[in-house]
């Protein structure tokens, strides 16, 4: 074990020992699981003499998380040894991740499943700490509601969330995304034939991508009304330029030797475009599709801050913040996060299928 790992193990074990000693002050029968965890944690200090496997540390982290979660609300207010248990459970998780990644480092390829475990451990740790700290320390739920409360809100208001999702994602985002990306693609192919337009439009396209385009939202709301059409229009404008710039760059990606080959085959413009240049442009196009998937959702939600019918994710977020219903806001954000990640994931999957020949896909 490295120096850092020794240090982590010592602090975790030491905290458990101190916590165990402090916990004798409370009646024995309360918080049994928590005390059991502290005892086992203190016992883990025998690793100074007997080496312990890394999976034992993982088990300790899980045990600690469960113990701390079940002990929530047993003691009011939470005593010092409760927080010590939380910190040492976290340290065990850290130690586990540290040792696991050290063990994985030489053989990255064939351990994809274990490699996935590390970010999951990190995410679960964050959730557990969030839950325990907000409930254990009685953080006002206006500032930060615990995850369990957000989850309860999600399950209890499915119809509202579904209606908002339909309004914002299925209508505004998907339609605007398809239109904006399609338009960018078609315009790119058109201007690709003219070097003059290319050199005129590309610098502008690059410049526009640095501009705060979400600002056009109030104008679009004025032009296209309060319903989803105005949001889709904002999404079209936001997604158009990344698609244009990337497609034009991608169409130039085929090397001249490959184009010469197409010429020797007497291929027509369209044959060259369909069989050589578009496939070569695919990685660039998918890059734009991925960038746009995030931009589209942002554009639609922000546009709703400027006026909507009484449905939609952005509308719900801005009104519920005003009413201090913070758990509902977090529920919407969770839905948006899942929708955004799935959207991104689907595009990545399609990319893997379409550009299977590209080094970045083959290597992974």
């Amino acid at each position: 074990m490295s120096q850092l790992q020794y240090f982590l193990a010592l602090v975790a074990g030491g905290l458990c020992t101190a916590g165990l000693a402090l916990s004798f002050a409370t009646p024995l029968e309360t918080g049994l699981l928590l005390k059991a965890f502290l005892a086992v944690g203190a016992f883990s200090l025998i690793r100074l003499w007997v080496p312990l496997g890394l999976w034992l540390d993982g088990a300790m982290a899980v045990l600690g998380a469960v113990a701390v979660l079940t002990a929530l609300g047993v003691y009011v207010p939470a005593p010092a040894f409760f927080w010590m248990a939380l910190i040492s459970a976290w340290l065990f998780a850290w130690l586990f991740v540290e040792r696991l990644s050290r063990a994985l480092a030489p053989a990255t390829r064939d351990n994809a499943g274990l490699g996935l475990l590390i970010p999951i451990v990190f995410g679960v740790t964050i959730l557990v700490v969030w839950e325990v700290v907000t409930r254990g320390a009685n953080v006002p739920q206006v500032i930060l509601p615990p995850p369990s409360m957000i989850w309860a809100r999600i399950t209890s208001s499915v119809p509202t969330l579904l209606a908002d999702f339909q309004q914002t994602f299925l209508k505004a985002v998907l339609i605007g995304y398809a239109l904006g990306c399609g338009l960018g693609f078609v315009v790119a192919i058109l201007i690709d034939r003219s070097p003059f337009f290319k050199s005129g439009l590309l610098p502008l396209g690059n410049f526009v991508s640095a501009l705060p385009i979400v600002g056009v939202a109030p104008i679009m709301v004025m032009w296209f009304g309060f319903d989803w059409q105005s949001k889709a229009a904002v999404v079209v404008i936001m997604t158009f330029f990344p698609m244009l710039v990337n497609t034009v760059a991608g169409l130039n990606a085929a090397s001249s030797i490959e184009r010469d080959l197409m010429r020797t085959y007497a291929a027509s413009y369209w044959q060259t475009l369909l069989k050589l240049r578009l496939p070569a442009a695919a990685p660039f196009i998918f890059n734009a599709l991925k960038i746009n998937s995030t931009l589209a959702l942002i554009g639609a939600i922000v546009a709703e801050f400027f006026g909507t019918p009484i449905v939609g994710m952005g509308f719900r977020i801005s009104t519920e913040v005003g009413r201090m219903n913070v758990d509902m806001v977090w529920a919407e954000i969770a839905v948006a996060a899942v929708a955004g990640s799935l959207f991104y994931g689907v595009i990545t999957l399609i990319e893997r299928g379409v550009t299977f020949w590209h080094p970045s896909v083959r290597g992974a």
Partner: protein, 298 residues
């Protein structure tokens, strides 16, 4: 000159389309005005003139927007809330503070990720995932709650509190490009260069300051340019939710409440000009730093 020519032609084309569209989009309102006034047989030139100079047009024309920009910057003292410079300054200060925080956070994360395999494996997927989440949706939450915490619990006066809560959103948006770019940059030294440092018996901190850090500077500036543009978007969106009275975003919102289209467009132009200035100044700093580090002009 050769490079600028096509751009100018395209810009002129856009301008013509703009003015033509303004005639079409403002025509209906103009016809209503004529009907109410009882005027008939308006000559075509008069009609076109009028559509280009309405007070609350559907599509304001270029000269109206420029006139509004001129009126609200040059003709008004910059410390008055009527002045666009005042609003631009408010937005700029939040952008700059957020950009600073985001860049420092991004660089710190990148240093951690490059030096610790566990950090790399646990943080990197989440940093990437955090970008598929529409973070701007958090903006109203952060602004309102953050403002309440800053003024209530911490007892900060309202103006700095408002600035801080906007800067947090800016920081959140700008840390990602910096973190990803810096991870790439800090890893850009090749194995042979790292081996050379090894043969010099260089300590990890020496390797960092003398090899990794200088090697990452080009990557740093590329991502700083993306980050500063993202910061500005964050600051503007941070001004949209309840409570903001100053800033370009508040100006957009007020314009949309009172259908002041010329005001919306001028705020939009001001935001674009601010974005251009920010990106160009990062580019200038990049050139200065490159010269300091002994790079030859390309």
């Amino acid at each position: 000159m050769n490079k600028a020519f096509p751009i100018i032609i395209v810009l002129i084309g856009l301008l013509i389309v703009w003015y033509a569209a303004a005639i079409g989009m403002n025509a209906q309102w103009q016809n209503d005005v004529y009907r109410r006034a009882g005027t008939t047989d308006v000559p075509m030139t008069q009609f076109v003139q009028d559509t280009w100079n309405q007070e609350k047009p559907v599509l304001p024309t270029m000269h109206q927007v420029m006139g509004e920009l001129w009126n609200t910057t040059v003709l008004v003292a910059p410390n008055k809330p009527r002045s666009l410079l005042f609003h631009a300054w408010v937005t700029f200060s939040a952008t700059a503070l957020g950009f600073l925080m985001g860049s420092v956070l991004g660089i710190a994360l990148a240093v951690l990720i490059v030096h610790s395999e566990a950090m790399n494996r646990s943080l990197m997927p989440w940093i990437v995932a955090s970008q598929t989440i529409p973070i701007l949706a958090l903006a109203p939450l952060i602004v309102v709650i953050g403002f309440n915490i800053f003024t209530g619990t911490l007892g900060i006066p309202t103006d700095p509190a408002r600035l801080m809560s906007k800067a947090i959103i800016s920081a959140y948006l700008s840390f990602f490009p910096v973190a990803v770019g810096m991870v790439k940059g800090l890893r850009s030294p090749e194995a042979i260069q790292l081996d050379l440092m090894h043969t010099y018996n260089a300590s990890p901190s020496q390797t960092f300051w003398k090899l990794r850090w200088p090697a990452s500077v080009p990557y740093l500036f590329t991502s700083l340019k993306v980050g500063v543009a993202a910061s500005l978007v964050g600051a503007i969106v941070g001004e949209l939710p309840t409570g903001a009275v100053a800033g370009l975003g508040a100006r957009l919102l007020a314009g949309s409440y009172y259908s002041q289209t010329v005001q919306i467009w001028s705020a939009l132009f001001a935001a674009s000009i601010l974005a251009a200035i920010l990106v160009i100044s990062v580019g200038l700093v990049e050139k200065l730093v490159a010269r300091q580090m002994g790079a030859r002009p390309a």
